[in-house]
Symmetry: C3
């Protein structure tokens, strides 16, 4: 992919965000790009290839939003980014159909190299976005991954990512926790919110507002994911509010 990009856009700056998205894990890939993209300069072109349906009917798309451009399969991977724009028309999406912007020979199994990389490179050298193909309004945007209230003091949250330190990133925001809270994870109850990792006692499981703005479950200098046997997608039950014991 990088060779293809540099063949078309010799001056492009190439940055790897991550190669650690779980295979075919559209939800995790979408979460990671949604937390990283806004730290890049306006005008950045993000190539987001988490593409389990490569070669099938799913469309390749190019999407412009808040001054950033995303080149990706239309499989929902951009949902966490686009959900933030609640008003209609806050983004522009195009179905990539212009084969002149792709490699001459498009394989059935590696559209990253044959479609997404060359299209991104052409955009990087100034080809206008609307030349990639027809504008579309039916982009696949899945419903937001937010905690689900099951009664006034109880909600079900999700693990959206486990980072390389074993911190467990959830879809909880600070406002979900209330003044008192209990996270039920197997037999473990997490009741303490700390402001940085070092505030936890050795071995203690704590909650912390992470750098993505979401609540993480963390164990000081150890892997909370291993300790609590949590993986991406797992559910966490949360008691929240002043009435909690």
């Amino acid at each position: 992919m990088k060779g293809v990009i540099l063949s078309i856009a010799p001056d492009a700056r190439l940055v790897d965000i991550t190669h650690d998205v779980g295979s075919h894990d559209v939800a995790e890939g979408g979460f990671l790009i949604s937390t990283a993209y806004r730290y890049f300069p306006q005008g950045t072109i993000h190539v987001v290839v988490v593409d389990p349906g490569v070669g099938s009917a799913r469309r390749p798309v190019a999407v412009s939003s808040r001054g950033h451009v995303f080149v990706a399969p239309d499989n929902g991977v951009l949902s966490p980014i686009l959900q933030m724009d609640s008003e209609a028309g806050a983004w522009d999406a195009y179905h990539i159909t212009n084969t002149a912007l792709c490699l001459d020979r498009v394989s059935h199994t590696f559209h990253g190299r044959d479609i997404f990389a060359p299209v991104a490179a052409h955009l990087a050298v100034g080809v206008p976005l609307y030349t990639v193909g027809p504008k579309i309004t039916d982009l696949l945007v899945s419903s937001p991954n937010i905690p689900r209230w099951v009664d006034p003091n109880r909600l079900m949250a999700n693990v959206v990512h486990v980072d390389r330190f074993g911190n467990v990133v959830t879809n909880l925001r600070l406002e979900h926790l209330g003044r008192k809270f209990v996270l039920h994870i197997g037999d473990v109850k997490v009741r303490k919110l700390v402001s940085h990792y070092d505030d936890a006692l050795p071995g203690e499981c704590v909650a912390i507002e992470g750098s993505t703005g979401y609540i993480e479950v963390s164990v000081r200098q150890a892997s909370a994911a291993e300790r609590l046997r949590l993986r991406q997608g797992d559910e966490i039950e949360v008691e929240s509010g002043d009435s909690n014991q």
Copy 2:
């Protein structure tokens, strides 16, 4: 290595192709560079350091072929690239002996840093290829890794690479399979050729022409290598032709 290159060639563009070649696996490294290099711009200098014999008598070489330059140990790692040029003289090879192009102090264990990186950097800033040392004609080119026919309807193939999704890349080409085929892998028989990954049923082992041009064995959204317990170098028996059952 990157620090050394940038010290000599501050404007060089550095691209990592992979750091996942198995330790000392010259065959796998050779396969990967042979499938990737042609996607890079003409004039690219490829530094190919899969070098189990570092510090021993094996020669460091610089080779020009089809507008690309390769800096590598003379241990056969470039064979898959050079085998494609069947006519004599289709490439130029030089033994790197010019110590002025190397670091002042060459270690016995890291020629990537001390020889290959600085030579590549000097070539990148315009030093002519013939200045690296004497031209040679006895470059080590191993015989091609192609399937071996054992009778008119049966051939033995090899696993040349397992990708990060667990797809098993073989040395088979589409033309080896005939109109009907059976891959025998342990107790599993693979008889179905699909055109993209999504054509397989969940859990089904299928063959597919991969993005490298070689036949892969794949399981939809799972690791075929794990399922079939296949590793780089393993043999696969293939029945091929119309007479297969």
Copy 3:
């Protein structure tokens, strides 16, 4: 972090040295940067974020030494670099307090993105080092990790790093070994010093002066760390000198 850097310093060259430092392993991170940094051009800014105490009282610092600049937490990670400068005043250190050089909103858990990356980027575009904050003289420099003599012919060494091939890098220098030596590793005795990996017999454990200038324990084309069950931090007993049996 890279997005932040490129937003401030669009022309910065970004090079990853490694992402394989053990979680929170300040000693290993310090060793790796100390062996790599001098191969980069003068004026390089090194961002060294091995930061178990992120968000706590440990200071963020920027340090200039031998024409290189290091941006890092003040937790000793720079010790292996600074120990080489025995004379006082051989480096200049500053406590990063100037929030104008940081992101607007500094999280408690990711100072790499919010402090170290933007400060490094500002330095890269020419902001003077002294503007980051007050000069300090009490930088945390831990005592050198060198072998400890326990009697005139015996010393205790340490494993400082295991590389990706499984070579075990120690804190021993060639001069520690004497003309004869024995490394005692469990039941295995290593008595042979080779000059390159290929000098070892298959399966033989040997010592070798590695590319970092330190003695490594190595097994030809296999992992010495696995064979000897050695990990970063483990001790190795060394008999040294002519009187060894």
